[in-house]
């Protein structure tokens, strides 16, 4: 359950819109069901009153939208940012991808967002309504009584391993200043590292073979803001609209993860949007974990203007040949 109410956000948005401080609001719009929420730009108080929602299914990270949506904007856009979204926000600012002056950022607290797939795994298909109160209560077409679920049991993976409740960027904060969290987000990476290469290969072969190359991971990723992606460029020689074989699946995901390495804030959108539930965040986290271990702790987006580790160096960096000889469980 979220600690801040829809009404609080709505009041804030309506008052800023009515005062003329902002000309539009980037927020969550209600869908057909209680969980299919669409990011939308609201331009009137009436639209906000009627369609704005805030509940446990507002997972979408709005930062990337700012690049395209503030480009030719008159006035300012109000954007609601959860703590993890603010890291992407800063990272995009670091890369000069949007004009800070055109955005009014309102930081809002987040208690973690729910994963509808996890809910359906418990309740089954045929959800007729979901009420997000203290607990999540799910009514289905096939059960007589609603199923009541603790929201902590059905969090999105990224929220289970939330790295920070701290807003690193905002114009206005609608809650207390939060703290970064010592999360267990690298545990799964470490578990894979401890496997034998054959096991790891089998694991990724199984995961990546499901890829349908819909590009949702790339198109939702706040770090993927190239005007033209190499995988869309017919002259690059790697433009492939479909993974013709297991090599192309790996090529795409390795290169994509590599391209955002050092810039990825670990916002987890890639895994959230993947229609095939591939744990893509593990590739990004592997890079983050390595970077932290090789070159010192670094959190992309923590501050504007920080230099990403892969465009930096020191004279006594670790040699690639020594990467596997550091002792510990990496020596499978």
């Amino acid at each position: 359950m979220q600690t801040i109410t829809r009404q609080t956000l709505l009041d804030k948005a309506v008052s800023l819109l009515n005062s003329g401080a902002v000309t539009c609001v980037l927020g969550w719009k209600k869908g057909e069901f209680d969980y299919d929420i669409t990011p939308a730009i609201f331009r009137s108080a009436e639209d906000l009153e009627a369609n704005f929602v805030w509940n446990d299914f507002c997972g979408a990270n709005f930062s990337k939208y700012l690049v395209a949506k503030t480009d030719r904007l008159d006035g300012k856009m109000l954007v609601f940012l959860k703590p993890c979204d603010t890291y992407s926000f800063n990272q995009l600012l670091t890369e000069h991808r949007f004009d800070r002056e055109k955005v009014y950022a309102v930081g809002i607290p987040c208690e973690g967002m729910a994963d509808i797939a996890k809910i359906k795994a418990i309740t089954g298909d045929g959800i007729s309504s979901i009420a997000c109160d203290e607990k999540i209560s799910v009514t289905t077409l096939y059960a007589d009584a609603p199923v009541v679920i603790d929201s902590k049991d059905v969090l999105l993976e990224r929220c289970e391993n939330c790295k920070s409740k701290k807003h690193v960027a905002y114009d206005e904060l609608l809650c207390e200043e939060g703290e970064t969290i010592d999360s267990n987000r690298f545990d799964e990476v470490a578990r894979l590292e401890a496997m034998t290469p054959d096991e790891r290969f089998a694991f990724w072969q199984n995961e990546l073979s499901r890829c349908i190359r819909c590009n949702a991971c790339r198109d939702a990723c706040p770090a993927c803001t190239c005007e033209k992606c190499v995988f869309d460029n017919p002259k690059s020689g790697v433009e492939n609209k479909a993974p013709a074989n297991s090599f192309e699946e790996k090529l795409f995901h390795i290169i994509r993860a590599y391209h955002v390495a050092g810039r990825c804030t670990d916002c987890g959108e890639c895994s959230r949007v993947c229609p095939q539930n591939i744990p893509l965040h593990l590739l990004n986290r592997k890079f983050i974990k390595d970077i932290n271990e090789f070159y010192g702790e670094y959190q992309a987006g923590e501050e504007v203007g920080s230099r990403a580790p892969l465009v930096n160096y020191t004279q006594d960096d670790i040699e690639p040949g020594d990467v596997f000889n550091r002792g510990g469980d990496n020596n499978a």
């Binding site: 298909d125 045929g126 499901r210 349908i212 949702a216 790339r218 993974p243 959230r272």
Partner: protein
């Protein structure tokens, strides 16, 4: 109509698999269902439907068309088409079966697409009625009845039994091979199950969604509507909806230089992609609004205009479940056309 008890179903599968490859939905490691080849011990998925549609069986995501050998100025074309093997797909839902009709009207009209047609001729579809439709289902909107799935053979499942009915010669031929395992029964044997399905269909949240306002001849009325801008505003331009869709059939033809020849293959393409219509000297759909509009106009207006009113959406609900931003055809239809009555 013929029947057998559910605990004998594996014997039926084994019998089918003797003569042809048998595919059916099984649970994948990620929790979603996926069509897989049946072998002894394969457990059937209980899920309503697969994440990807069964269009792959006839129109795979990538498919080799031909190969070329080049030497100096000369070129040789190598026909890489192989003879298709017989196969059987079990457990296709009514919506997905209807989607084959939609695809047939593209690939099997002159000039016929031989890659698709041969696979279609060699495949036998055993369609299974939906006992537990999902909230995302809206097949009835397009006149599809989940309790009467078509295909070569229709099947109904109860708690203890499964009923089969052949719809054509292909289906009858397969059922007759199974006669040792199936018992004859009255044609109304599955009626009780059908009634149960009807009762659930009446409770679905999208039951009131209508095609009113769409169909052939509506181009002028719908094309310049201002709602397109709002509906497409947060579209990411990914291809999820088109790739999980059972009726999306756009493809690209590409050449791959293997280092010892050229392989020409086709792969699914998406009208949502920015380079879909990009030409050497320009693009006639420059913004996501235009690309988004094309997808829905094609399904709801252009296709029916060319195909006797048949819509190229079957209401399977995959795009409702999988769109990263939860924008989908049901929302488009509600906004632009007939309203769902509560």
């Amino acid at each position: 109509m013929r029947k057998c008890s559910l605990d004998k179903l594996d014997l039926v599968f084994a019998e089918i698999a003797k003569n042809a490859e048998l595919y059916l939905p099984v649970d994948g490691s990620d929790g979603g269902a996926v069509y897989q080849k049946w072998t002894e011990g394969t457990k059937r998925s209980e899920k309503l439907n697969t994440v990807k549609s069964p269009k792959d069986f006839f129109f795979p995501q990538t498919e080799d068309l031909m190969a070329f050998k080049t030497e100096g100025k000369s070129i040789d074309v190598i026909d890489t088409r192989k003879a298709a093997e017989d196969f059987v797909v079990f457990g296709v839902r009514a919506c997905d079966v209807k989607a084959f009709d939609v695809l047939d009207r593209v690939f099997m009209v002159e000039p016929q697409d031989s890659y698709y047609t041969t696979k279609r001729e060699h495949g036998v579809i055993i369609a299974l009625a939906c006992n537990k439709p999902s909230e995302t289902c809206f097949c009835k909107t397009f006149g599809i009845d989940p309790k009467e799935p078509m295909g070569d053979i229709s099947a109904w499942e109860t708690d203890s039994e499964i009923f089969f009915k052949a719809n054509n010669e292909k289906g009858e031929a397969l059922l007759s091979k199974l006669s040792g395992l199936l018992a004859d029964c009255a044609d109304d044997a599955a009626d009780a199950q059908k009634e149960k399905i009807d009762a659930i269909m009446d409770k679905l949240p999208l039951k009131g969604l209508t095609t009113e306002g769409f169909g052939g001849g509506k181009t002028e009325e719908l094309f310049n509507r201002p709602e397109w801008a709002e509906l497409s505003e947060s579209c990411l331009g990914c291809g999820t909806c088109t790739f999980v869709c059972p009726t999306c059939q756009c493809y690209d033809i590409k050449d791959f230089n293997t280092g010892n020849g050229v392989l020409r293959y086709r792969c699914w393409d998406s009208c949502m992609y920015s380079d879909f219509t990009k030409m050497a000297h320009g693009n006639n759909r420059l913004t996501q609004k235009e690309r988004f509009r094309q997808r829905f106009m094609h399904k709801l207006v252009y296709y029916p205009e060319n195909n006797d009113g048949l819509f190229s959406c079957v209401g399977c609900g995959r795009c409702l479940a999988k769109c990263p931003i939860s924008m989908n055809i049901a929302k488009v239809m509600k906004k632009m056309g007939g309203k769902a009555s509560e």
